[in-house]
């Protein structure tokens, strides 16, 4: 054997032995039993979306197809120049890539991604609605977004031949016979029926999670080591998965994480506090005159028991992390540009910005550069292809 051949043989030996060592480690992948339980709870995926009992058009194919077209129809805005897709751009994970969205004026919040909504309890960054249809009406009416009125929407639905025909087809009522309020509510419900069909596909994480649960070695080996290290921090010392819990990577609740409270020099964004107040004052709820749900059941829904708490101040709904790589920038005000910035935020947490009586769950993590990169590598495995409509075309 020549020296060169010997060194190649040695290289192969070293490489293969480290390969085998790695393979062996994959067998139980260095997670504690608590971490494994958390990872297991992040699946299985996809979820079975349940029909919305408060929306009689939920799952209705005629309404879904109409809702899809309405979603990009500028006739729902006052000046006929803005639609839902102006801020929820399908190619951008149904966000707009901006820090704060701009309709007729600039709003204080980042456009949240629209995906997997059929499984949500609260809608909007502040949870101002417990119905997707109620939430869908908000930007149509908001002065800074589409700035229309119920009368505007009714005039379009009754006055435009194509809209009137499709409205009647979907609702079995002629818009000319309905009140503006009823038409607005139906428009919200038809938009919601479409949005419920927007779901994120399976990801590399889901394949790994299933392999970990079933013990399938090949599936465990295929997942990148950096992502595994990141996942261990995410479920372990980072405690991220306590709030980013379950198949949606969110517990659906509200937390303050030390993002600045001022939306402008003279204006505080109160977050969940204002959201809960708006919810209590709204008629567009599960328990309300426009809901299609059995009202005795709606009265037992979690939203009927929502509590005003001091901790509501400056708290926002924990966003789902599914598809997170495609929905920058981040946080309710879009103030963090990249996933690296988000990880830095938690690692270098500014405790002064948290309420003094706030949760003690958050502490600076002081992560190394390698650990930060590992968490980002893990987060990218939660993103696969663009969001697709399960209803098809």
């Amino acid at each position: 054997m020549t020296g060169r051949a010997a060194s190649i043989a040695l290289l192969i030996c070293v490489a293969s032995s480290s390969f085998f060592a790695r393979t062996a480690a994959h067998a139980n992948d260095r997670f504690t039993s608590d971490e494994r339980a958390m990872i297991s709870a992040n699946g299985p995926w996809p979820l079975n979306p349940t029909p919305d009992p408060s929306n009689r058009f939920s799952g209705d194919q005629t309404a879904i197809a109409f809702g899809k077209d309405l979603f990009s129809d500028p006739r729902l805005s006052r000046d006929e120049n803005l639609s839902c897709t102006s801020c929820h751009v399908p190619e951008l994970g149904f966000t707009d890539g901006l820090e704060r969205s701009t309709g007729i004026g600039e709003v204080d919040r980042n456009a949240p991604a629209i995906a997997n909504l059929a499984n949500f309890r609260w809608f909007g960054w502040d949870g101002r609605s417990d119905t997707l249809w109620g939430q869908s009406i908000h930007p149509i009416l908001n002065d800074l977004e589409m700035a229309a009125t119920a009368a505007d929407i009714a005039a379009q639905m009754a006055g435009q031949e194509d809209l009137a025909a499709r409205y009647e087809q979907a609702t079995q009522t002629n818009p000319a016979d309905e009140t503006p309020e009823a038409i607005l509510v139906n428009t919200g419900k038809i938009l919601a029926a479409y949005q419920e069909t927007l779901r994120t596909p399976r990801t590399r994480f889901d394949d790994y999670r299933d392999a970990l649960v079933t013990g399938a070695t090949a599936g465990q080996v295929a997942y990148p080591d950096a992502a595994k290290r990141g996942l261990k921090i995410f479920t372990g010392k980072g405690k991220c998965s306590i709030c980013h819990f379950g198949p949606l990577f969110t517990n659906g609740e509200f937390h303050s994480i030390g993002i600045k409270h001022f939306a402008a020099a003279d204006r505080v964004d109160t977050g969940r506090y204002g959201g809960l107040k708006a919810f209590r004052e709204s008629k567009l709820n599960r328990l309300g005159p426009h809901s299609d749900e059995d009202q005795a059941l709606a009265a037992k829904a979690p939203s009927a028991y929502a509590a005003f708490l001091h901790s509501n101040w400056g708290a926002y709904r924990v966003p789902s992390l599914r598809n997170v790589g495609a929905t920058a920038p981040y946080m309710h005000d879009g103030s963090l540009a990249t996933l690296e910035d988000v990880v830095d935020h938690y690692s270098d947490m500014n405790m002064d910005r948290l309420h003094s009586d706030g949760e003690t769950l958050l502490r600076p993590l002081d992560l190394s550069a390698q650990e930060r990169a590992d968490i980002v590598a893990f987060l990218h495995t939660l993103t696969a292809a663009p969001v697709a409509s399960a209803a098809g075309d």
């Binding site: 709870a41 379950g246 708490l309 009586d357 003690t360």
Partner: protein, 136 residues
């Protein structure tokens, strides 16, 4: 002598009876959670093992034993280590059979929770707590 033996047997029998005496048998299903204090012992169902993170549930409370006139007046849950409670305010009602029902409960994180139950009679009150380990 015979009397002494009889007395001893009687004593043992009485002691055995007394040790069983706390009316736990009245509390039905033993899989629930016992919430114990000085003035009352309560039995809660479903058991913590049946609860799921983020899923709404109603808790049924039964008084196993209590000082005279003791009533359950409030039930809540908190995470002591995190310094927060639930985001929901449960509603407590008294059922026809004397049990209590707390509706609107929702534990939104996995980890160590604590049920907090206030009991009261005309002349005393107590706050009872019981640990609940909510698994992911």
């Amino acid at each position: 002598m015979t009397a002494n033996i009889a007395r001893a047997i009687c004593f043992v029998a009485m002691a055995a009876l007394l040790s069983v005496a706390p009316a736990l048998a009245d509390c039905g299903d033993e899989t629930g959670l016992l919430i114990k204090g000085d003035t009352a012992v309560l039995h809660a169902t479903p058991p913590p093992s049946a609860l799921e993170v983020g899923e709404p549930f109603a808790l049924t409370l039964e008084i196993c034993e209590a000082a005279a006139g003791m009533e359950v007046i409030r039930l809540n849950a908190r995470m002591p280590a995190h310094g927060h409670g639930m985001n929901y305010e449960p509603e407590l009602s008294r059922l026809d059979d004397g049990r209590y029902l707390a509706e609107g409960m929702l534990l939104h994180m996995p980890g160590e929770w604590e049920f907090v139950v206030d009991v009261r009679s005309s002349d005393q009150s107590e706050r009872l707590t019981a640990a609940v380990d909510l698994k992911p």
